[in-house]
């Protein structure tokens, strides 16, 4: 397992930006790599902790599935919702073609 102190490379940042659907200019890539490396270097402090016996904590309270009764209730107004969409077609959200692109 890599230590938290391992530094981040330009390629790592470019990869992460692609995963997050962000386009970076070469200048931005340079700046973000330096900034993220300095932040990650600070995170080195937790490498010293012995966490083997510690259970992860994902939220303040134990997760419980919350279900309501299966009865129809009021929902958002369709026209009000669609009025805020950038593009709408036949009562639905419209997007540019999704086929033929890189996965």
């Amino acid at each position: 397992m890599p230590a938290v102190s391992d530094s981040i490379s330009r390629d790592d940042v470019a990869h992460v930006a692609r995963l997050a659907r962000l386009e970076l200019t070469p200048d931005e890539l340079e700046t973000y790599t330096g900034q993220l490396a300095s932040v990650l270097a600070h995170f080195h402090d937790i490498d010293a902790l012995d966490l083997a016996a510690v259970a992860p904590m994902t939220q303040p309270y134990p997760l419980v599935n919350v279900l309501r009764d299966d009865e129809p209730g009021p929902t958002l107004d369709r026209d009000e919702v669609l009025a805020e969409a950038p593009s709408v077609e036949a009562g639905r959200f419209a997007v540019p073609p999704i086929l033929g692109e890189e996965p």
């Binding site: 890599p2 992860p56 303040p60």
Partner: protein, 472 residues
């Protein structure tokens, strides 16, 4: 100094003042100083006048509009308001009008409050100074060369400048308490799950909590009582709800055990520490039993937070893809459209955190970063639990310094992140905490002291806050 919310509501309910006059007084202050301070993204003057007129009609008809009758309120602009633009201070949501109200907004309105505007914030609440707003920073009403703190800087500045006696903010790592300290007002981060997050635009869902900012402890208490309580629309809302706070507000602190957190004295400016010590003396003089307590892992909070919050944010902010709302930058295919939209719509700090979070969650790094951070989160919560076996409340500074100069920490993200060192641990544990103004630093700017309590310890925490308010 503006009137308190409680004084305004009492006058409006008793027909001693009209809600429309109250609104005009506050709008006049906004006209006078808003140009210098920029507390708001939007001042909803016509709507505020209409809502106030409706309150006056109801009072005249013999109705009681509620405990906040005719009280103007500023809403952080990441709280959804139906039909009224909600931007999160981001270009990606500029102009978006939500199709529903946040539960907290509906509850304030049902209690008679009048919305006066949507207040500025760091983009998507990511920041400690409100300099990360896409629409320009909010400046500190005490000194406009200084920041207001963040991310609820607009809400804190609005209250400090008398634009509204009360405001709502959201606190993920200190975003209510920090600007409250910098602007010299009261700010409360309630127990996680006691205030509905329905209609609060999500940043880091396991940490986010809505809370009040006010000029007095009593005003903060009434607002928290109005907005708190179980909400079936928020599945993390805790069913037992928040107990009453106001009835015991003046009960004092005699016999309460209050611990001064040893680790949160390191790296803190001397004049700030002097105010914390003065607060400890005031509590002791009022009959509390003070001692120093070690909360050993509290310093690791910064690392845990800046891994967990960005990880959650990278997931939450995936929804801004140019499909359902907000900005779209057209491209011939959907993937390119999404990337172009997000790149144009998000500012630098939001991009930084999305990338940090995506990295912490990515294959090969998940265990080393996110997994470890979750374990550190448990350590911190356990350390607090141990401290609360011996103490009813804990005491620390809210921030290491007073309000800093505009731009002073902008070039160095890590320096900005360190601003949150005292406030972050509470959010990781899910506990309540509040900042109470307690004098000023060497530069004459406000200093806030932080009171921390265990889960659902709000009523006790407010008793100590009321004692500090009397003593300052």
């Amino acid at each position: 100094m503006t009137d308190t919310a409680l004084a305004i509501a009492a006058d409006v309910r008793a027909r001693r003042r009209r809600a429309v006059d109250v609104v005009e007084e506050h709008l006049a202050r906004i006209v006078e100083r808003e140009r210098d301070i920029h507390a708001f993204n939007l001042v909803t003057a016509p709507r505020a006048r209409e809502e106030a007129a409706e309150i006056d009609r109801r009072v005249a008809a013999g109705d009681d509009p509620g405990p906040l009758a005719g009280v103007p309120v500023a809403l952080k602009d990441n709280l959804c308001t139906r039909g009224v633009p909600t931007t999160c201070s981001s270009r990606i949501l500029a102009g978006w009008r939500p199709p529903y109200d946040a539960t907290v907004v509906a509850r304030l309105r049902a209690a008679g409050a009048v919305t006066i505007g949507k207040s500025n914030l760091d983009e998507f609440a990511m920041g400690s100074s409100t300099e990360n707003s896409a629409f320009g920073p909010t400046l500190n009403p005490h000194d406009i060369t200084r920041v207001a703190g963040g991310s609820s800087g607009g809400s804190a500045a609005a209250v400090a400048a008398g634009f509204a006696p009360i405001a709502l903010g959201s606190d993920t790592g200190g975003s209510i308490r920090l600007p409250a300290a910098f602007c010299g007002v009261v700010g409360v981060k309630p127990t996680y799950g006691t205030v509905s997050r329905y209609g609060l635009v999500a940043f880091a869902s396991s940490l986010d909590q809505v809370g009040p900012l006010a000029t007095t402890v009593a005003d903060a208490a009434i607002v928290l009582e109005v907005i708190g309580g179980h909400d079936p629309r928020d599945s993390t809302s805790i069913p037992v709800g928040l107990g009453p706070i106001t009835p015991t507000l003046r009960d004092g602190v005699r016999g309460l055990r209050i611990g001064i957190i040893e680790e949160l004295r390191e790296g803190i400016d001397g004049d700030v520490l002097a105010r914390v010590d003065a607060a400890a003396d005031a509590l002791e003089a009022a009959g509390a039993v003070l001692d120093v307590v070690s909360v050993p892992s509290v310093h690791y909070g910064l690392t845990a937070y800046y891994l967990i919050a960005p990880a959650e944010a990278s997931s939450n902010l995936a929804r801004y893809d140019g499909v359902r709302y907000g900005l779209r930058v057209e491209r011939p295919d959907t993937t390119a459209m999404m990337a172009a939209t997000r790149s144009a719509g998000f500012g630098p700090e939001v991009k930084r955190r999305i990338m940090l979070g995506t990295y912490a969650l990515s294959a090969g790094y998940y265990d080393a970063y996110y997994g470890k951070a979750l374990k550190v989160r448990r350590l911190i919560a356990s350390a607090f639990d141990a401290a609360y076996e011996r103490f009813d409340l804990l005491l620390s500074p809210t921030a290491p310094t007073t309000a800093f100069e505009l731009g002073a920490r902008s070039a160095n993200p890590l320096a900005m992140y360190l601003t949150d060192v005292c406030t972050i641990p509470t959010n990781l544990a899910g506990h309540p905490a509040m900042s109470v103004p307690f004098g000023s630093g060497a530069d004459g700017l406000p200093v806030g002291v932080q009171l921390l309590a265990p889960t659902l310890g709000e009523a006790t925490m407010f008793r100590a806050a009321a004692v500090l308010e009397e003593a300052r």
